[in-house]
Subunit: 398 residues, 2 copies
């Protein structure tokens, strides 16, 4: 008998993500040669602990709150008080006046994106994605029965190739996914990039007679270097939906907590919010994890000690450039995206693996010829890895 | 401009679930007349706290485990050690020999069901659902692009109407969802029901040349009254997938923790498991909440103090029958499903609302003429509500 499961899901479940594959390989390799000898730059798992206030908030909630309420269902969009505290934090930081009802709490940014895409898209709608991109955007877009349309990378600056974008826009485009600070390039879209994008989308929305939504995936918003400024997109484009996660800023990737913000400037914001909530229901989310709704709300003004990522960036950037790597300087995140030193980035990443350097080929991010380095590791690990990077460079540049 | 969101999601997000609507109404009403005066029998939120071992496990994990690991990503299928402990618990209780790799941890049973349905079904596949049913089964099935096929209720015993099932079976049927102990009826499918179902599905699987999967939704497995026995379905039917949640047994519905068990007896179990994992990825789940993966694993042999539900069942059953209600005695859960005392169960539930009795019309469960009472409330609340039930009965039976 043939099992006849869904082939698309089987493929997703069999291939898994390149990043997670490397991560699993790293764990196995660590068991053999010791964790300190594997230079695992594969996954975006924060290397700094959550601030103490996170565990303190957990302890306080456990000791003061009725466990039936604390661990019970919340409203599907999230506990009202938690949403209020999160909205207040946003209002303080971005000078807004958002009500709690602009927020829909989710099980992380991945869930937030899936709720937006499933809520907005009809079959045959198109979703624009800029290379280099987080590969799950393709998975989530197809999961929403929509068609991903890739805009090739601007490999000079990792901003936007507007000519390519213009030729891709058409009336079937329902949404554009933006990710700044960007995974994998570390680039932050400048204010001029954002303004130009907003103007173009405004004009095209009018021309097509329906809004093109800007879905802004912002888990790295708080990880920004020196004087880089991340423009707050709703200030520039009214039909912006923000997908956020505390995975990186509070070092809680496993706990799955984030939100969709539907600003009241969004056209038909009530309908859009309702469609997102409907998608959450259809996808089986019920409510975001209840304890961590309150924990993240209590810690919404805080972050982990994020400075190490800038230290790592500076060290790695300087050393890699010295060794002959070509790297666009990241404005934030804990990623950089140097050019591979071989034509084939997959072969290059394989060669790096022989030095126990786990880096991710750019092809998986829609940008061949590059590799992603996740430097969310202790700084000593980076120091220790430099000889491996150097040996790799010598091998390839010889 | 027309926003043109996905209409199906908009409808889901606008109508929301009848149960959650009542729940929200109850919260608002409680703010007006006091919580103790609202007889909210609408939602399946456990009324007993988690066992102390849950909070103790949280505290221990926070104080002993590296926070970066504790709150970090786990493998997509769940932390290996947590899965091992959960498998061990199942093996002890059901005399099995399941490995950790039969388990895929999920954000609750809703996520587990969505992963199974999306992983198994191809468009135009059919999924059989027995009335009365948890209404989200329809939502989840449609969300997986499959077609729900409802088998009308056996209102005499809330077992299975096999004649109706036989006429519904056809080669497009990919799966059958079973929910025993049952929400909303409280019925437990007897061993003879299960055997008969297994024989029929075995025969039809052979006839059609592909397995019909039995998706067993078992969040109420541990809530069973007196000497009722819940047959362990994989002992009777090899192609059984179990969807479990700790929502009810450990009183953790808000935390979203459960699993899919893919027994190694399932045909092509590796492919089935991979398709389920692929679906989890496509739906944006990433991993089940990491802290509670370990908490539930540590407490997998335990339950909350569940006896109050049987106390409540006994009290309510005796009193409602005395007042003239017709009720099939539940074998488990914290629900009962009496006949409405008016022809129109929606009108009857509305009339109950005037007595501040919040009960859910059976129509929403595909079984008009009945109402669901969730007696997961303090026993005193039930005692206090009896006069309201009596007044309602007098009004209707006059």
């Amino acid at each position: 008998m043939s099992s006849n499961v869904n082939e698309q899901m089987l493929t997703l479940g069999t291939q898994r993500s390149v990043i997670r594959e490397l991560f699993e390989y790293g764990k196995k390799r660590a068991a053999v040669i010791g964790e300190e000898n594997v230079f695992d730059f594969s996954i975006g798992n924060p290397s700094v602990p959550s601030p103490d206030s996170v565990n303190a908030a957990v302890a306080k909630l456990l000791s003061t709150m009725d466990p039936i309420l604390l661990h019970g269902y919340t409203s599907a969009q999230g506990d009202a008080e938690a949403r209020k505290r999160i909205a207040d934090s946003l209002n303080r930081r971005f000078h807004k006046n958002y009500s709690k009802d602009t927020l829909y709490l989710t099980a992380g940014a991945a869930a937030a994106l899936c709720c937006c895409l499933n809520g907005l898209c009809n079959p045959s709608d198109e979703v624009i994605i800029f290379a280099p991109y987080f590969p799950e955007y393709i998975v989530f877009t197809k999961g929403a029965q929509a068609k991903p349309v890739i805009i090739p990378a601007d490999t000079q600056n990792f901003q936007i190739d507007f000519d390519a974008l213009k030729s891709a826009l058409n009336p079937m485009v329902k949404a554009v996914i933006l990710n700044s600070p960007n995974n994998p390039s570390g680039a932050v879209y400048s204010e001029s990039t954002v303004k130009r994008l907003a103007e173009l989308l405004d004009a095209k929305s009018k021309e097509y007679g329906h809004p093109i939504y800007l879905i802004s995936d912002e888990p790295y918003r708080e990880i920004v270097f020196s004087d880089t400024i991340v423009p707050f997109l709703p200030d520039h484009y009214r039909n912006t939906l923000i997908c956020y996660s505390w995975s990186k800023s509070l070092s809680l990737p496993g706990e799955r907590l984030g939100y969709v913000l539907v600003p009241d400037t969004v056209e038909d914001c009530d309908l859009v919010y309702a469609a997102i909530a409907g998608a959450g229901r259809s996808l089986g989310y019920v409510n975001a994890p209840s304890l961590f709704q309150r924990v993240c709300a209590a810690c919404a003004d805080e972050t982990s000690e994020l400075r190490v990522y800038e230290t790592n960036k500076n060290l790695l950037l300087k050393e890699l450039r010295r060794m002959g790597y070509h790297v666009v300087e990241p404005g934030g995140t804990f990623y950089m995206f140097p050019r591979a030193l071989m034509e084939d980035d997959v072969a290059f990443a394989e060669r790096a693996k022989a030095h126990d350097l786990l880096i991710v080929p750019g092809s998986g991010f829609g940008c061949p010829g590059h590799v992603r380095i996740s430097y969310c590791v202790p700084t000593e690990r980076i120091e220790k890895s430099l000889s491996a990077f150097e040996a790799l460079a010598k091998e390839c540049l010889a």
